[in-house]
């Protein structure tokens, strides 16, 4: 069986898993891993010499490798949809290449509907229009939530457009990054119409702000007074997302499993133990079924996840120059 047929057969099994909960996660994850090892030199090299007996043992691709290497089974010369991590054109951006977004859309929309049932379809997104930013996976996902007003342009948040969209009409679904929401809340904003929902994603990584996440949520409740405040956790390198209500842990979909590992060795840690986070995402069929993040968290016995932010210690470099700082200096920023 060739790559295309093999992929289609696996995609069909994943679709059944997503829509009908049909199949065994472990078996399917291993099948996807074997497929990727056969067709992706990167994952083949990472898997060399390892014996993979279950989903927890699948060699995870560190997210930084998405900046350096073409990870996945989609060749450079093949048609692909490419989602990129944030950054400037000069700095290295991770690229998540998929043949098409069918599995991404299926998984993202299915789990969103389960986690945020009845969300208004009038959407105000403090994000860039996917027509302007086709490589933003977040914008791509939110575009599927309803009739969207996009409020971030090339120069940043267009508060006038956002405020106008928020004040006219019925219940609204505000989808935003934490930083964009913090910026909006610096303006004079009225409470949202009854039945409105606010979705927040991301932290303040790389941004200078005095506002904590808890402080932001308090301001959202105090100023916008939404009926529901929902948190989303997703990554460019993942096809599936986790959702949380209020302060509750994030819930992964059945086709995505988080795993906390020892940052020193990569060895899995048990439930309720904090560690560096990995994700095994069946919908990452075209890229890497297992990825390793630079975030830390606790995976609970029921599979839910409490996120604890970035791994500690990234700032202990003192006067030693990082690649990013060097790049920034060379660009004169």
């Amino acid at each position: 069986m060739g790559l295309v047929d093999e992929r289609e057969a696996l995609a069909a099994r994943i679709r059944r898993f997503v829509t009908h909960a049909s199949g065994d996660f472990d078996e399917l994850a291993l099948a996807v891993h074997r497929f990727q090892v056969r067709h992706d030199p990167v994952q083949r090299a990472l898997a060399e010499g390892t014996e993979v007996s279950g989903w927890r043992a699948i060699p995870a691709v560190p997210v930084d490798l998405f900046k350096d290497l073409p990870v996945g089974t989609v060749g450079d010369d093949e048609r692909a949809v490419v989602f990129r991590t944030s950054g400037t054109t000069q700095t290295r951006r991770g690229a998540h290449r998929v043949r098409d977004t069918a599995l991404y859309d299926l998984g993202a929309q299915a789990w969103h509907q389960r986690c945020v049932p009845g969300a208004p379809t009038r959407v105000v997104a403090l994000l860039q229009d996917p027509l302007v930013a086709p490589d933003s996976s977040l914008s791509h996902m939110v575009a599927g939530f309803g009739d969207v007003t996009w409020c971030v342009g090339a120069d940043g948040l267009d508060a006038r457009v956002a405020l106008e969209a928020l004040t006219h009409g019925g219940p609204v679904y505000v989808c935003a990054t934490a930083f964009a929401l913090a910026e909006l809340l610096e303006r004079e904003v009225s409470p949202l119409p009854a039945g409105s929902v606010v979705m927040v994603t991301g932290g303040f990584k790389g941004r200078r702000t005095d506002l904590s996440e808890a402080g932001l949520y308090a301001r959202i409740h105090g100023t916008l007074a939404p009926e529901r405040l929902i948190r989303e956790y997703g990554m460019t390198e993942l096809s599936s997302q986790l959702w949380a209500h209020g302060d509750a842990p994030y819930r992964p979909p059945p086709w995505l499993r988080p795993l906390a590992v020892d940052p020193a060795t990569g060895a899995p840690r048990g439930a309720e133990a904090a560690g560096q986070l990995r994700f095994v995402d069946l919908c990452n069929l075209d890229s890497a079924v297992a990825i390793e993040t630079l975030d830390q968290g606790v995976v609970h016995a029921d599979g839910s996840l409490t996120l604890m932010g970035r791994l500690p210690g990234a700032e202990v470099r003192g006067c030693s120059l990082t690649v990013e700082e060097l790049q920034r200096r060379r660009e004169g920023r």
């Binding site: 691709v61 290497l69 700032e315 202990v316 120059l321 060097l326």
Partner: protein
């Protein structure tokens, strides 16, 4: 002038134990002793003979990692009679742990050194700061001092021409567990034929170093970075690992200047001479360890392997003539730093 008290203070530091640190106890002692060795009575005697008007007051903002860097600056300032406020990092750090103790020893010797938290203290005449680019930029913007000397982040590299160079380079990169701007994270291997034996020698030297001078505690992010670059090396080059060390080999196109604890990165440049010359003039370079005769410019130092972490007191600090810049009437920049061989630099004889 308080040079006698400074000598007494440094002797007390040498004779005292160190608190528990992220560095292993032997590693912390090695770092301390390397710093003290540079501050001999002879060297400080020459510094004392320099003419100039000392500042009345100074504040020194220390970086988190290399806890001995403030030693030379404070020894000079205190020796001249300047009253010094030392601002330690607010988060727990080896710098904070060491200096809680060393500041008390200074006061025991009657030296006017005071620890001050961020945002407190007086407005000094001289403000010296070391740390990340963001810290330096922030301090520079609001510095009210009459002179501000800010030293942001830099990187170091080493050239490994043969396996004989390896122990000295490993010494440089193992001191402080690879933290700080003088640790050579990037190792240039000019001859591709020697890469294999040199990588093996690095592995052996790192394993030997681990026995006598164990690696200390790493942060979770450091562990993750080592494993991440190791994964990249497994795909594009080679990764050898031990219990507390790693040797990464990557193509030159994927080189990085990030120094990871006890995890040197070996890269073979396509044009070694050009690559080494480019490193030596990179304005972001702190030091280049090499036995080759290379001209430095841009503020970085070219020194012999094994001495990258032991800068002489009489030198330019990132291009700044610091011994004179710490006089009220001294100039900040070296007269012509671009074209001249620098203290500690290999004399420009025939190329090897």
């Amino acid at each position: 002038m308080s040079w006698g008290a400074v000598h007494g203070w440094l002797t007390s530091i040498a004779g005292s134990s160190l608190p528990e640190m992220d560095l292993s106890p032997p590693g912390a002692l090695a770092a301390r002793d390397a710093a003290l060795a540079a501050l001999s009575p002879e060297v400080l005697g020459r510094v004392a003979s320099l003419g100039g008007t000392p500042f009345q007051s100074a504040r020194f903002v220390a970086a988190r990692t290399v806890f001995t860097a403030p030693l030379e600056w404070l020894a000079v300032l205190l020796g001249r009679g300047t009253t010094v406020e030392l601002q330690l990092p607010s988060a727990p750090s080896d710098t904070g742990r060491a200096w809680q103790h060393w500041a008390q020893l200074a006061r025991d010797h009657g030296l006017p050194l005071r620890l001050v938290p961020k945002g407190e203290g007086t407005t000094p005449e001289l403000l010296v700061a070391m740390g990340s680019d963001d810290t330096i930029a922030e301090l520079g913007q609001r510095a009210a001092a009459s002179r501000f000397l800010g030293f942001g982040a830099r990187y170091s590299a080493a050239v490994c021409d043969s396996v004989e160079d390896v122990p000295a380079i490993v010494f440089d990169l193992a001191l402080y567990d690879g933290r700080g701007c003088m640790s050579p994270g990037l190792v240039v291997v000019p001859d591709p034929e020697t890469l294999g034996p040199i990588a093996e020698a690095f592995a052996q030297a790192l394993a030997d170093t681990e026995v006598r001078w164990p690696r200390g505690r790493l942060s979770d992010a450091e562990h993750a970075s080592i494993r991440s670059r190791g994964a990249l090396a497994r795909v594009l080059g080679r990764c050898d690992t031990g219990p507390a060390w790693a040797v990464h080999q990557l193509p030159w196109s994927h080189r990085s200047v990030a120094s990871l604890p006890r995890a040197p990165l070996l890269c073979v440049p396509p044009d070694p001479s050009a690559a080494i010359a480019a490193l030596a003039v990179d304005p972001h370079l702190s030091s280049l360890g090499t036995r080759r005769a290379v001209r430095a410019a841009g503020g970085g130092r070219v020194v012999l392997p094994g001495t990258q972490q032991s800068p002489p007191v009489e030198r330019l600090h990132d291009g700044v003539d610091w011994l004179r810049a710490t006089f009220r009437d001294g100039g900040v920049r070296a007269p012509t730093p671009d074209a001249k061989l620098q203290p500690g630099e290999v004399p420009d004889t025939e190329a090897t």
